[in-house]
């Protein structure tokens, strides 16, 4: 039973790690990856804690997570397209405020 909590804690760890990367990394691709990692973290927490119900595992969080994954992929696709547009108009795919810090 403590394994589920271990996975949940890993989920929380991934969430906060992604948040840190989101803050620290200037490159947009890194930020998008960070967002995906945070998403996986949350999903891990959801499903892991779902397993606490006896005889059969709680299915509703799993349905939520499937919806979440699909939403995450569409968000990532949009983010990548935006990043490409941005890198077309200004070198180095970065937000303007990070740009100035970097160059």
């Amino acid at each position: 039973m403590s394994m589920l909590f271990f996975y949940a804690l890993i989920g929380v760890g991934l969430f906060t790690l992604g948040l840190l990367a989101l803050v620290v990394q200037p490159h947009l691709l890194q930020k998008i990856l960070a967002l995906n990692v945070m998403g996986s973290g949350v999903f891990l927490l959801l499903v892991a804690l779902g397993g606490r119900s006896q005889p059969v595992v709680d299915v509703v969080p799993q349905a939520m997570v499937i919806t979440g994954i699909v939403v995450a992929v569409s968000a990532t696709a949009m983010a990548l397209t935006l990043m490409l547009n941005l890198s077309r108009s200004s070198p180095g795919a970065q937000l303007p405020e990070d740009q100035s810090a970097d160059s």
Partner: protein
């Protein structure tokens, strides 16, 4: 029995820490290409974790969409980025060092650690046994028209969420087309090995997606997983250079994209008029309705994912600057 339990917990520990380590390496490594590859492996490890947590459907979805398709998108985006950004041209893509002000970095790190501690404390304070909605799901399962609980929840109990989610998918392709413009994939030079592989694989993939669609009613599977495999097949075909279809003019593509959400809405209005409630399938032929919905959803999910991949490939046609 004791030994098996021991082994399992060791495996879980190893899996958990490797997941965390992989994520750390991926997010803080200097090379973009390396971080993308690490991301794909991270996706696969996540799939294994889902299996360990007895969530096969999620594992399937994670593997196909999370690792597979997102990886493909990232790869094509990275390729595009390299052609654009001359700084990355020199083979070894130097990632700009995160020259963040040192104090900011340490403050952020401190907050992250504290936040992890706080959330962990909250999670640990959760009760060790809570039935959640599992017994509610089990009791209503037989009247839901399918035997597999996940599909029942997805398609029947929380069907309205899935409807909105289909709308999100439609929105994603609409937005990618509106941002990147709708043009076909560029010419792709492929090696003969790839061609042979694709010729072998694509029929198998289509067969597997059909099987997954069918099995979803009583075993892990279902519209999303089948759709994503269909999409993967489409990506392979596109990568092999065969122009599957001409995106711009063909309203067929638009019809396939819209098929899933349109089916949902049609069924919703139908049930609203007959049964008085949104998406309330009559218990007798609930299964048929769900199957119909799933097939159309699979078609539209597959096409959407393919179109997303093709969309990110193209040159973004610069919109005319009338307004700026």
């Amino acid at each position: 029995m004791e030994a098996v339990g021991l082994w399992q917990s060791a495996f879980d520990l190893m899996l958990g820490f490797s997941l965390f380590g992989l994520a750390w390496r991926m997010l803080f490594c200097a090379d973009l290409f390396k971080s993308i590859v690490l991301f794909i492996t991270f996706g696969l490890l996540m799939a294994i974790a889902w299996v360990r947590l007895e969530a096969p459907d999620v594992a399937l979805a994670e593997a196909t969409i999370g690792a597979g398709l997102t990886g493909a998108l990232l790869m094509s985006a990275f390729a595009k980025l390299r052609t654009l950004d001359n700084s990355l041209k020199s083979g070894q893509p130097l990632l700009p060092r995160p020259r963040l002000h040192v104090i900011n970095f340490w403050i952020a790190l401190l907050f992250t650690v504290l936040l992890t501690g706080g959330l962990a404390y909250a999670v640990l304070s959760l009760p060790s046994h809570s039935p959640g909605l599992s017994d509610a799901v089990m009791s209503q399962l037989d009247s839901s028209g399918v035997t597999h609980p996940v599909t029942a929840v997805l398609l029947n109990f929380r069907g309205y969420d899935t409807l909105l989610e289909m709308a999100v998918l439609l929105l994603s392709i609409q937005s990618v087309w509106s941002m990147a413009g709708m043009s076909d994939a560029g010419e792709v030079h492929t090696s003969p090995v790839l061609n042979v592989l694709i010729q072998l694989l694509s029929p198998v993939l289509i067969l597997v997606s059909a099987y997954l669609l069918w099995v979803g009613a009583h075993a892990p599977g279902g519209a999303f997983q089948a759709g994503s495999i269909l999409g993967a097949a489409g990506v392979l075909l596109v990568l092999s250079g065969r122009p599957l279809f001409n995106l711009k003019k063909s309203w067929l593509i638009r019809l396939m994209l819209v098929a899933g959400p349109a089916a949902f809405i049609a069924l919703a209005t139908l049930t609203l008029i007959n049964e008085g409630q949104l998406l309330k399938y009559p218990v007798a032929n609930a299964a048929n309705y769900i199957l119909l919905l799933e097939t159309l959803a699979t078609v539209s999910i597959g096409t959407t994912l393919l179109a997303l991949f093709v969309g990110s490939q193209t040159e973004a046609v610069q919109q005319d600057q009338s307004h700026q």
